[in-house]
């Protein structure tokens, strides 16, 4: 199979899966693309939006389009880690001997929907940490691998903050992207009404298997990236740090902590997937620009002044990217220097 064929297969699979999701989800093309990019990049995605915007439906539909196991956890304050990971229970065999047997929790699925993740306590939220990073969980002294591919899609509501537990930075950093689900436009709203209030059963086809997903993940890692593009990615990450000498003024003023190296990984991996979806064999500067906000917005921690001023992290990321491009000499007149 030639490389062209592999890439074409990927594009076809990507577009097929997107088409299946769009059978149910109206609009949100960018959100769907970013969710798929996150999945193919091997990361996890956090969806943030007001109730009723279709976050949960999007994840359920995506799971239906893949030949993968799916489980959903509704996070509540009384949820315990064992409720997610599983627990050892005593079972009796045919000989009458009793022994502990591990009862798997809902985390043992290919696609895990962690609905309203910020409603659970930090202790329970932390139960996902190891699984998201290592694709395995440790319980009873034994490490148990999670099925591959393992993909966590979490949702949270930014409005109802009463009785919620904001995700700690370590947990946030484990999400490849944080996507903001915005309110649909009026045309999309009309389509949603039509699609959801009439008797017209929508059947989502399974267009991709787990092995396909894993194969595409390997393909994505082969996408070459030029030195100057990689340097730009690193510069973007560095420019989110207020102490860096070339950081923009806004970053110095409003940011307490900048993005971690995981941010750079997320940025480059996402850019590679985006390049392939566009039929390109290389990562371009445009890919970095397009994915900087979803990859970095949850990795930037504002200081008190930033919080008080209500600074939008997306705006900050935009300024950081602009500054990074200036630092890495992307100016149009660079040739005369």
């Amino acid at each position: 199979m030639t490389q062209d064929t592999r890439v074409q297969d990927f594009i076809a699979a990507f577009e097929g899966l997107r088409a299946e999701v769009e059978k149910v989800i109206v609009g949100h093309r960018e959100i769907i693309d970013h969710v798929l990019i996150g999945m193919f990049a091997g990361g996890h995605v956090l969806l943030e939006g007001a109730p009723g915007l279709g976050k949960t439906l999007l994840v359920k539909t995506l799971a239906e389009g893949l030949e993968l196991s799916f489980s959903r956890i509704q996070f509540t304050p009384d949820l315990m880690p064992a409720d997610i990971i599983g627990t050892n229970i005593i079972v009796e065999d045919a000989d009458g001997r009793k022994h502990f047997q591990f009862q798997q929790g809902p985390i043992f699925a290919h696609i895990l929907l962690a609905d309203e993740i910020n409603r659970a306590t930090p202790k329970t939220q932390s139960a996902l940490l190891e699984g998201m990073q290592e694709a395995s969980v440790t319980t009873g002294g034994a490490s148990r691998p999670l099925p591959s591919p393992f993909f966590v899609l979490a949702t949270q509501n930014p409005i109802e903050m009463e009785g919620t537990y904001p995700l700690p930075e370590a947990q946030l950093d484990r999400f490849l992207f944080k996507l903001r689900v915005r309110y649909p436009a009026i045309e999309e709203l009309n389509a949603i009404i039509d699609r959801t209030t009439q008797v017209r059963p929508v059947r989502v086809e399974r267009v991709m298997s787990g092995s396909n997903v894993l194969a595409f993940r390997e393909l994505i890692r082969e996408v070459p990236i030029a030195d100057h593009v990689r340097a730009l990615a690193s510069t973007i990450i560095m420019a989110t740090h207020p102490m860096w000498e070339h950081s923009p003024e806004s970053a110095r003023r409003f940011i307490r902590y900048g993005a971690s190296p995981r941010g750079a990984q997320a940025l480059v991996l996402g850019a590679k997937v985006r390049a392939l979806t566009q039929g390109r064999f290389n990562v371009s500067v445009d890919d970095l620009r397009a994915l900087a906000a979803p990859a970095l917005r949850h990795r930037i921690i504002l200081n008190f002044e930033g919080e008080a001023e209500g600074v939008d992290t997306d705006t900050l990321v935009g300024q950081v990217v602009e500054r990074a491009e200036a630092v890495t000499v992307q100016g149009k007149e660079a040739f005369v220097r």
């Binding site: 030029a226 100057h228 064999f281 290389n282 990562v283 371009s284 005369v336």
Partner: protein
């Protein structure tokens, strides 16, 4: 390898374009600055004779060539050229990535696909320039010094300053020629006061004023009107000599500028005030400060003013001068004091005659003058005067103290204005006050009932605007309430 050759060709092509643009760019910059130097050279072409245009042209050529050389030797890296090609043709970093990865040994299978894809796109590229022309900012202004240089090259040389003193002799000879032609007219014209004369100090003008107000004053009043009179030459025969003579007469009259009325001193300032200013200019009239020299100058000034006529102190001033010439300073001081008293009395009489009320009269209740040390009335320096303190001069006042003694009024009550009061018990505690002293005896000029409502409204506005501290609101309201109860 054919693939890498194609990419290298593309990169070389772009690099060559970049070099050309750089040559243009830096040549323009060099030409601009060289043009500025050329303008300087051409501005001084009088000193450079015929070499200036050649030198200027040479400098411009060297500047442009130097800039071009600098642009030409600047190196363009392969990566930069590749990135520029990507941007120019919208190749989304394909060329830069392909060039970067083409030489690597560990390249993956997708790199070959990338190179193939890039080659395919490069071969289909339209033949257009990748590097656009960038005109430097100083290059945009190049036409200005260029045009200036051209104008200067075509224009006659700018005369340079010689650096030696002007030849007064030569100009004097030139000026003598018209004099010979027109007789004495220009001779008189040259004898006009020079600008230096016109800028004489005011005190000097005042001294000259005494001369103009001297014995010939009556005769000169007719001459002054003649200066402004219409001579109606049209009715006379055209006689050039008489015309010149009349002109000479006018010029002579104008030369006697001190006979013209001194508007400032005659109409806006009294003689007494002038004396006061003069004394201030000399450092004051305090007995411990006054010297015989100052005294003499004041007496001279007084005498000068007295010559204007109508002054009854002229005799005193003359007596003072005589005493000073005889070395009797005390007599001179006494004479000056008498003259000042008379001058002041005359000044006040003049003001009363005009129906003008001086500040002193106002404060004294209309002519009830007491001969004590005045002070306190009037704000500006022009309203000040010596006062009538007899204690001003040692041995002449009632007190030996230079400041004089307190007035009778102040002895009787050392406070001009005072407030006394007592607490009042009632529904609301209050405090009744009365003014004492002279101010307390004066009736209020405002009717209580006419203004109390207005003040109440101002109070309410102030409280509403929060211009009064909140803690005082109740106290202020209570005060107005107490006024109502009374």
């Amino acid at each position: 390898m054919a693939s890498s050759d194609t990419l290298e060709r593309l990169v070389r092509r772009v690099a060559a374009q970049v070099r050309r643009r750089r040559i243009e760019h830096y040549a323009l910059r060099g030409a601009f600055w060289a043009c500025l130097v050329a303008v300087l050279l051409l501005a001084f072409k009088a000193a450079l004779a015929g070499w200036a245009p050649l030198l200027a042209g040479g400098v411009v050529a060297v500047g442009a060539l130097g800039g071009a050389l600098w642009g030409g030797i600047k190196r363009t890296s392969v990566a930069d050229a590749a990135r520029l090609a990507d941007r120019a043709w919208g190749l989304e970093d394909r060329v830069a990535t392909a060039v970067d990865w083409a030489g690597r040994s560990e390249r993956g299978p997708l790199v070959d696909a990338l190179i193939a894809d890039t080659l395919q796109r490069v071969e289909a590229l339209p033949p257009r320039a990748a590097a656009r022309r960038v005109i430097p900012r100083d290059g945009r202004f190049l036409p200005i010094p260029l045009a200036l240089a051209l104008v200067l090259a075509l224009a006659p040389p700018i005369p340079l300053p010689s650096g030696r003193l002007p030849d007064f002799l030569a100009s004097g000879v030139e000026e003598e020629q018209p004099e010979q032609r027109s007789g004495s007219m220009l001779t008189d014209e040259r004898s006009r006061p020079t600008p230096k004369d016109r800028l004489k100090a005011p005190s000097f003008e005042e001294k000259e004023f005494a001369t103009r107000a001297g014995g010939t004053g009556a005769a000169m009043s007719g001459d002054l009107s003649a200066v402004f009179k219409d001579t109606a030459l049209s009715g006379q025969r055209p006689d050039f000599q008489s015309f010149l003579k009349k002109g000479d007469d006018r010029l002579k009259m104008l030369e006697q500028a001190d006979r013209l009325p001194d508007l400032q001193s005659d109409f806006t300032t009294s003689q007494y005030k002038m004396m006061f200013r003069k004394s201030k200019a000399l450092g004051g009239l305090r007995p411990d400060q006054i010297s015989p020299q100052k005294l003499r100058e004041l007496l001279e000034e007084m005498e000068r003013l007295g010559r204007k006529g109508g002054a009854n102190w002229q005799g005193d001033a003359a007596e003072g001068m005589e005493a000073m010439e005889g070395g009797q300073s005390d007599r001179g001081m006494a004479a000056m004091q008498r003259a000042l008293d008379k001058m002041r009395a005359q000044d006040e009489a003049a003001r009363s005659g005009k129906g003008l009320k001086g500040g002193r009269e106002n404060s004294r209740g209309g002519g009830n003058r007491d001969k004590r040390v005045g002070g306190g009335e009037g704000g500006g320096p022009d309203d000040q005067d010596f006062g009538e303190g007899e204690g001003l001069l040692p041995g002449k006042g009632r007190s030996s103290s230079p400041k004089g003694e307190a007035t009778q009024r102040l002895r009787g009550s050392p406070y001009d204005v005072g407030v006394e009061g007592e607490s009042r018990r009632g529904r609301k505690d209050g405090y009744d006050t009365n003014m004492t002293g002279r101010a307390g005896q004066m009736g209020s000029r405002l009717q209580y009932l006419g203004v109390i409502g207005q003040y109440r409204k101002m109070m309410e506005d102030s409280i509403a605007r929060e211009s009064v501290p909140r803690d005082f609101h109740e106290q202020i309201k209570d005060y107005f309430q107490a006024l109502d109860e009374r």
